[in-house]
């Protein structure tokens, strides 16, 4: 199959681990386009993680770019699947970003991007703020599991792979995190 066709097929396949592997191998052989395809395939969940931690869209773009560049730099260390590994890099970079800039202070509502999709009512924004505060009360591991499952949309098996734990452990941690959030927010406020 021509290389162009392989790359096109890889872009279309949304969650094909094998294709990720092929693209990584192609990139290792020096094919720059393969890396671009990998970026296009995984940019959205990386952005989701970055936006969770970044103060604004510019900072999120910077974080997301750094995640991919760091993946490129450390591609030699990749042993398992690309996607969980990349998300782990994004989470670590984001946490470092928060630590360095201290802009995700407890209870702080991050600056909302100036965009039409954030034009909601004040109540809705207040509710989201409460959830974010409750999220910040979770343990580090619980937060990581929730972020990787919800924001990065990783399956529990992938979350486990990214964090070096078992799939069952990832599910238990997620369950504990959600129960804690539910208790903190109260059943009614949690929308149930």
């Amino acid at each position: 199959m021509p290389e162009e066709a392989v790359l096109a097929k890889a872009v279309q396949a949304s969650d094909a681990v094998d294709d990720d592997r092929q693209l990584v191998e192609a990139f290792r052989r020096g094919d720059r386009r393969a890396f671009e395809v990998l970026v296009k395939r995984h940019q959205r969940p990386v952005w989701a993680i970055a936006l969770r931690f970044a103060k604004d869209r510019d900072a999120a773009e910077d974080l997301a770019q750094r995640a991919f560049v760091q993946a490129l730099e450390r591609i030699g260390e990749l042993k398992g699947a690309f996607r969980p590994w990349l998300m782990r890099i994004a989470v670590n970079l984001s946490k470092n970003h928060v630590r360095d800039h201290a802009k995700f202070a407890r209870g702080e509502v991050p600056d909302r991007p100036v965009a039409p999709w954030f034009e909601e009512s004040l109540d809705e924004e207040r509710q989201r703020s409460r959830v974010r505060v409750a999220l910040s009360d979770l343990t580090r591991r619980q937060r990581e599991v929730v972020l990787l499952r919800i924001d990065a949309d990783l399956a529990f098996a992938e979350v486990a792979q990214a964090l070096g734990i078992t799939e069952n452990n990832a599910k238990v941690t997620f369950h504990q995190a959600v129960k804690k959030l539910k208790d903190r927010l109260g059943g009614e406020d949690a929308g149930v």
Binding site: R32, F35, E36, V39, K40, Q43, R44, W47, A48, L51, R52, E61, A64, Q65, F68, V69, L72, E73, R74, G76, E77, P110, P113, A115, W117, F118, E124, Q127, R128, V131, R132, L135, V146, R149, I150, D151, A155, F156, N168, K171, V172, F174, H175, V178, K179, L181, K182, L185, G187, D189, A190, G191, V192
Partner: protein, 206 residues
Amino acid sequence: MPACEGWALRIVADVTGEAEDRELERHLASCSGCRAEAKLLAGTVAAIRETRRVPEDLSLAGFASRVAERAERFRDRSPRGLWWTASRGTRYSLGVSLAAFVASVALVLVRPVRPVRPGPVTVRHHSAPLALRQAAPVRVTGTAGAGSSATNSAAGYQVTPDDIEGDMELLASPDDDGQDVSFDSAFAGLSNQDLKTFDQMLDNPS
């Protein structure tokens, strides 16, 4: 009514939309406790999802090319080669080995060298001292050390009078006045230079 033991994790997987679980659906249909639990968890998960700040219509046009551009800049700045393409573990191992080697070499080079002190050396003068008139061979026990001026050519090191101690056979022949001459008295009053000259005479009697 609490949820049934053993179903909680399947409920978690279900409410996050990971996979359809027909067996769980059948259980939820018949268990009100688990149904309530699933509803609460689903509401909380939905609330978390609401806090995501990624809009559905987020346009990431050009992002991939910007990343590629940045990656190229990084590549231009960074020294490339085998070292950087190796895994971090390999680089760490090589680095530790190199550091250990450098430390070993440094230890060998910097280690202070202690002077070697030889044991007692017996010096036997090879001929009868002319000035002392057929004196018996003198056995001198001494150690090599600094500040010497009398040279023992046979042994090749310096011996000072102070180093010569005990265990000496005194000269047996009398002097011109018929007095016995001891080793001490024979050398009394001689300077280091005199001793050196004297020793050279011993080495070259002619």
